[in-house]
Symmetry: C2
Subunit: 124 residues, 2 copies
């Protein structure tokens, strides 16, 4: 029996909307989410968890209150818990997020119209 792997490019081809993380895999109570972003997000932080970003395509900048990090495909960065940050992409970036189940994209900010519902696995 041949089991099926998860292909990032194939999964990214299943949707075009930006800023809407899609769960593609889970280990224990952690989720792997793919997302496409372009432009500026809101400042936010996650009081209870670190958050890992892996860029799959494009270039991502994450702004911090005292600096920034720039990274591209083949690179990752971990934003520590409690650290205010704001993702930014001049052109569309495709990336993989790894974080505990239930984390909202807008962090500890009040949920708003840009808060994504990210608990539903992507239909394959």
């Amino acid at each position: 029996m041949a089991y099926q792997s998860i292909n990032f490019e194939n999964k990214l081809g299943l949707f075009s909307e930006q800023w809407t993380p899609k769960v593609i895999a889970e280990i224990n109570d952690y989720q792997f989410k793919i997302v496409k972003i372009e432009g500026d997000f809101v400042w936010h932080s996650h009081a209870d968890t670190d958050e890992a970003f892996i860029v799959l395509d494009g270039q991502l900048r994450i702004d911090f209150k005292n600096g920034y990090v720039n990274f591209s495909a083949g690179e990752m960065y971990v934003v520590p818990k409690g650290m205010e940050h704001k993702p930014y992409a001049e052109k569309e970036v495709k990336m993989l997020l790894i974080e505990p189940r239930g984390v909202l994209n807008t962090g500890d900010e009040q949920a708003s119209e840009i808060t994504a519902v990210n608990e539903s696995p992507l239909v394959c």
Copy 2:
């Protein structure tokens, strides 16, 4: 202040030995480890945790008692907890593992000479 991202290719260039996972990042109590493998590993399982594999370069096969999965760069697979598996690479594969801190590469098998000490962060 410019923060530094983690570049997989750069980190993989820092060592040549196979079957020795190196911790390159952590989120909470989970670790990201890079490893180079070639040939056959031992059958093992992890009773308490799922394990995520992301191939960075090359082609990996994971054998299960009732099948297998083949995957390449840009693809991932999650081995469920308790599932016996045996990674195999005909040619060297470079990959990223994501799993809770403290997981041994040989799983619940008795630690042996192939059990890697994987708790030390890679010196950058």
